[in-house]
Amino acid sequence: MSPLSSVGDATSVAGELPGDARREQIVDELRRHLGDALLESVVVPGVDVWIRVRTDAWRRAGEVLSDELGFTYFCFLSAVDWLPSPYGRGEDDPTEPAPERSSEIVQGVAGGETRLQMLARVVHPAHHVGVNLKCDVPDDRPTVPSWIPVFAGANWHERETHEMFGIGFAGHPDLRNLYLPTDFEGHPLRKDFPLLARMVKPWPGIVDVEPMPAGDADDEGGDES
């Protein structure tokens, strides 16, 4: 039975009930430990669960999940920058003036209030269910507590997030660059950091979204595969 077909389908929700109940139970347990530090949660039955916590409870949430609820497998830790890229997809004609683009920040699943959000995932090794954790990173002082006391493996993930997004991790013993040279300036995965290759040379493979004129069977300017 495919989990994809379970979204919004009443009969398969009934069939998916064990997974669904389990995820609801996880949210309830976490809320019991964190209280109102757990801001929002979304459960897609049979698929996944997203939980957003308050920034100061970031490490505490990890501790609860790891020590109390048995989520001891550390999958990954990263961040998302919700600012829409001012460069679009780097397909603009450099001779034309830059088109108008919306710079409205809209967060994704489980909401949020800031431009940067932490994203982490931990999994329960016996029950094989995972939890996606999110938390806001304050815009004025982008620092969150480090997860190293909870998961030793968060070390490299936090170093990478730091160099790519510019988020500080309080309590990290050695926050150096992982991939980039030490004197690199800027934070590449932020949306306002341009993809230099596209700045230097315009991208030739632009996908044409105009509807095809009737009678033409071939692709024209489309580069979809």
Binding site: M1, S2, P3, L4, S5, V7, V47, D48, W50, T72, Y73, F74, C75, F76, S78, V80, D81, P84, S85, R89, G90, E91, V106, G108, V109, L119, R121, P125, H128, G130, N132, F151, A152, G153, N155, W156, H157, M164, N177, L178, Y179, L180, P188, L189, L195, R198, W203, G205, V207, V209, G222, D223, E224, S225
Partner: protein, 390 residues
């Protein structure tokens, strides 16, 4: 106490200073050894900085990033079908396996499912890429230990698998065959019979390697008890794949997740080992390769007929949402967290690659080992640079 003259004082100080210099020169505080980035032992440009005391490692740390290509940033400027080409090249030995989690994540957001035949063929190619990947590991294991002959047998037998993948997809190393909604093409004629032959050869190869390498006393004394990773440390660092199973954790994403692939429709076994040392990791991979050949045979037996592509629009726009899909890739758990805003391309793709976590444990596991054991442990953890550096 007589008063020392200035001259006496100065000569005393000079003697002390000279003594201190000699002490510093003689003091064997430890040598810093750089293994890599150009080195025959590392699967690519990985640099390990090790501080040694004689032949023992006091402190070691990998310095990666020599091959960082910025895939997460690049994926943001591509359309969904274009990302497949990009993502092929993360783990370049088992390349079809990289495409699958991303395609599944996009399909999950679009709420479509590939037809049954496409799912089975996807699983088939996935397992073939696993065999291609791990058979190179088995050969390379010999070279790292000093046995130069098994690697030639590995390459010879791996060629058969690569020929199969090329016959089906057109590319030996970078197939770029998966499409959102199914596959690009159906299998060519004669593929099924040929694959059965090749699987027989590979089972022979696995038996050969087990005799030649794993049964060798020197190999055993080089790998048993070396680099033991206990179960809770392995989970803490997010080790995955054979590394985790060798530490006694019964974890296989093919069995534990319910993805629209064919793993739950065939019969196969998950191999674990309790020791958690280098030998266990290598042994588990050998058994998995053999198991994969049996999987392929069963998949060939049960291959359903039908179309290989679902009805998808010509220009693919994935609805807004977030999805995470991970699969049991040859190297470990590889997953994609895809954030979509209803656009032609993804808004953010977080690539969770197996070797990144597998190698993050290196500073912990290399404390106190001998220099030759560094190579053994790295070989048994099995990483691909593209997977670490993305």
């Amino acid at each position: 106490m007589t008063m020392l003259s200035d001259r006496q004082q100065l000569s005393y100080i000079a003697a002390q200073a000279a003594d201190a210099r000699v002490n510093v020169e003689l003091e064997t505080e430890g040598m810093t050894l750089n293994i890599g980035p150009q080195h025959p032992a590392t699967h690519g440009t990985l640099r390990i900085i090790a501080r040694l005391d004689g032949e023992q490692v006091v402190w070691a740390e990998p310095a990666c990033g020599y091959m960082h290509r910025g895939y997460e940033k690049l994926a943001e400027v591509r359309t969904y079908p274009q990302v497949t080409t990009l993502v092929n090249r993360i783990d370049w030995l088992g390349s079809f396996a990289n495409e699958v989690p991303f395609i599944l994540a996009a399909e999950q957001l679009m709420e479509i499912e590939a037809p049954a035949r496409a799912q089975w063929i996807r699983t088939l190619l996935f397992e073939l890429s696993r065999i291609a990947n791990v058979s190179l590991f088995l050969g390379d294991l010999g070279v790292q230990m000093g046995a130069i002959t098994p690697v030639f047998m590995a390459f010879r037998d791996r060629e058969y698998v690569l020929n199969l993948i090329e016959a089906a997809t057109g590319g030996r190393f970078h197939p770029n065959f998966d499409r959102i909604g199914g596959l690009k093409d159906d299998l060519p004629a004669g593929f099924v019979a040929e694959t059965r032959q090749v699987m027989k050869k590979l089972r022979n190869f696995c038996d050969e390697i087990e005799d030649l390498l794993f049964g060798n006393e020197i190999f055993q004394s080089r790998t048993r008890g070396i680099g033991v990773i206990p179960r809770d440390v392995a989970l803490d660092y997010g080790l995955s794949g054979a590394n985790l199973r060798a530490s006694g954790v019964d974890w296989d994403l093919r069995r534990d997740q319910r993805l629209p692939m064919a793993w739950d429709k065939v019969d196969w076994k998950v191999w674990t080992h309790t020791d958690g040392d280098s030998f266990a990791r290598c042994w588990v991979r050998l058994q998995e390769t053999r198991e994969a050949t049996k999987l392929v045979d069963q998949l060939l037996d049960g291959l359903p007929s039908g179309p290989v592509m679902a009805k998808v629009p010509r220009i693919i726009k994935v609805p807004a949402g977030e999805a995470w899909v991970s699969t049991e890739n040859p190297l470990g758990e590889m997953g994609y967290y895809v954030v979509s805003k209803g656009d032609l391309g993804p808004f953010r793709v977080k690539i969770r690659s197996a070797s990144f976590n597998n190698i993050s444990i290196v500073p912990w596991v290399l404390r106190g080992v001998y220099v030759p054991d560094i190579i053994t442990i790295l070989a048994s953890l099995y990483f691909i640079l593209g997977d670490i550096d993305r």
